[in-house]
């Protein structure tokens, strides 16, 4: 029960922090401009027309889409972190063979799925605004997509095994081997040419860093809350099962 109370408090604080970061992203954070873009045809767009010359129509580059940085990046980093937690508990399960580690690994993977879905949604919105396409087979996007498929595979595997111990063992083995892709996806933008931006190499104003850090802490708190609330739910289910058995026996 104590964990549930902590989780609810964390959920509340996390929600407040994320909201604060949302407001700060549009108020105190320094506006980043990305120059102009020149096109042949006039566009139906809210972005100001800067210049009309013989070269074409010059518009200001969409700066507004940069604001998604304060949500997309914290959520994405949290997804890698929580996936790592799931892999960690998978290893602990194989070493100790205790059921609680299997449950923890499963709940962490569920939380990771939530973050991965949010990352995908925010990312797709951003690529539409910044690159003009919904999706591009680009190294970071592709490896991240593959990672998502592996997480889905993890649950497909779990759902198709009845025997409890076998399910736990197989899921742990697959969780570990799937996690090998996570560092690849994380570092790939730094290794091979990719159009996905790497913000933290190009320097950063303090006014932008503060909302980012607040959002990151808030997201992690919400993530922990999701995990802990699910954990207390699972514990209640187990208690109900024990009580049922006792009544029937």
């Amino acid at each position: 029960m104590r964990q549930l109370k902590v989780a609810l408090v964390m959920l509340l604080i996390g929600g407040v922090l994320t909201t604060v970061a949302f407001v700060m992203a549009f108020t105190t954070a320094e506006m980043q401009r990305f120059g102009t873009v020149t096109v042949d045809e006039p566009l139906d767009t809210a972005f100001p027309l800067m210049e009309v010359s013989e070269r074409g129509y010059t518009y200001e580059r969409p700066w507004f889409s940069q604001k998604i940085f304060y949500f997309h990046v914290p959520v994405a980093e949290a997804s890698f972190l929580v996936f790592g937690v799931a892999a960690f508990y998978s290893i602990r399960f194989l070493m100790r063979r205790r059921k609680e580690f299997d449950t923890k690994a499963r709940l962490a993977m569920e939380t990771a799925i939530v973050f991965v879905t949010l990352t995908m949604i925010t990312g797709i919105l951003w690529t539409r605004a910044a690159w003009g396409v919904w999706w591009e087979w680009e190294p970071r996007l592709t490896t991240y997509f593959i990672m998502t498929l592996m997480m889905i595979g993890y649950f497909v595997l779990r759902n198709s095994i009845e025997d409890e111990e076998r399910r736990a063992t197989y899921a742990a083995a697959f969780g570990i081997i799937a996690f090998i892709n996570a560092p690849i996806s994380f570092f790939i933008t730094r290794l091979i040419p990719s159009s996905h931006p790497v913000v933290f190499q190009s320097g950063f104003a303090t006014s932008n860093l503060i909302p980012f850090i607040i959002a990151q802490i808030g997201m992690l708190m919400v993530g922990y809350a999701i995990y802990a609330i699910r954990a207390s739910e699972v514990r209640l289910e187990e208690r109900v099962d024990v009580l049922k058995d006792a009544l029937e026996g």
Partner: protein, 250 residues
């Protein structure tokens, strides 16, 4: 079954661990090959499956027009066929073991679990290579007739195929051991296998493509892709080897 056929030493002279392991490895591998020679089931089913894939390629490319040269995507098409046939073969190689109770017998016998893994994986590599060797001439005959010259050196293609086959068999043996014990056998194998194979496939297609097409800097592209294939093979073989003991015991 054929484990009994292996010559047993007359007196239980103490053997060194390495030579004993090597004999156990050979015995399991021989069992798989003898069984395949008797039934010819895996190579036939995989080979026919590969042929059917070629027919589907013809349908897929039927509207592409005469200007389109299949050579440009030949490497991708080849690996697509190998992915599907290997999933079929991996599933079969473990389903047999389970249905006939052979896996249990293997687990009861005093053989180290890693040796079972390497022997099964080696068997799968052999069958994959046989199917690849049968598929490539057919593929070349059906799709590459107009392209009378290959761009790269011919020895590069088997090297790329072998590198891919090792990775497929390594991870595939682990995953197939899991998937035969699940409710939806082949479906589960596909869901786990395809995403895990992605990096290997990308590198293997790049290497094969360089070997088929040639052109500027193809040697460099080939070797950098092969380095990725080798790195993937090494990492995944170590991971699968380490996890196999847990999986097969469950």
């Amino acid at each position: 079954m054929t484990v009994a056929d292996t010559p047993t030493p007359p007196a239980p002279a103490r053997q060194t661990g390495a030579s004993l392991s090597w004999r156990q490895f050979k015995a399991i591998l021989r069992k798989d090959i003898v069984m395949e020679l008797r039934t010819k089931e895996m190579v036939t089913s995989m080979g026919i499956y590969a042929l059917l894939t070629m027919v589907i390629y013809q349908v897929a490319l039927s509207q592409a027009g005469t200007a389109f040269d299949p050579r440009d995507i030949a490497a991708g098409l080849l690996w697509l066929a190998f992915v599907f046939t290997s999933m079929l073969g991996l599933n079969r190689s473990l389903v047999h073991e389970k249905d006939q109770g052979c896996l249990e017998a293997l687990l009861l016998s005093p053989v180290d679990r890693p040796i079972i893994f390497f022997a099964k994986a080696a068997g799968n590599v052999v069958f994959l290579l046989i199917v690849q060797a049968l598929t490539i001439p057919v593929f070349a005959f059906l799709f590459l007739q107009r392209a009378d010259q290959y761009g790269g050196d011919l020895w590069m293609i088997p090297l790329a195929l072998a590198g891919g086959a090792i990775g497929i068999a390594g991870v595939g043996t682990l995953l197939a051991t899991m998937s035969v014990n699940t409710k939806g056998k082949d479906f589960v194998l596909a869901v786990l296998f395809v995403p895990l194979m992605y990096p290997l496939l990308l590198a293997a297609v790049s290497a094969t493509s360089a070997a088929v097409l040639g052109g500027d800097g193809y040697v460099q592209q080939f070797w950098s892709s092969m380095a990725l294939v080798a790195a993937y093979d090494a990492i995944m073989l170590v991971a699968a080897f380490a996890l196999y003991e847990f999986v097969i015991g469950a």
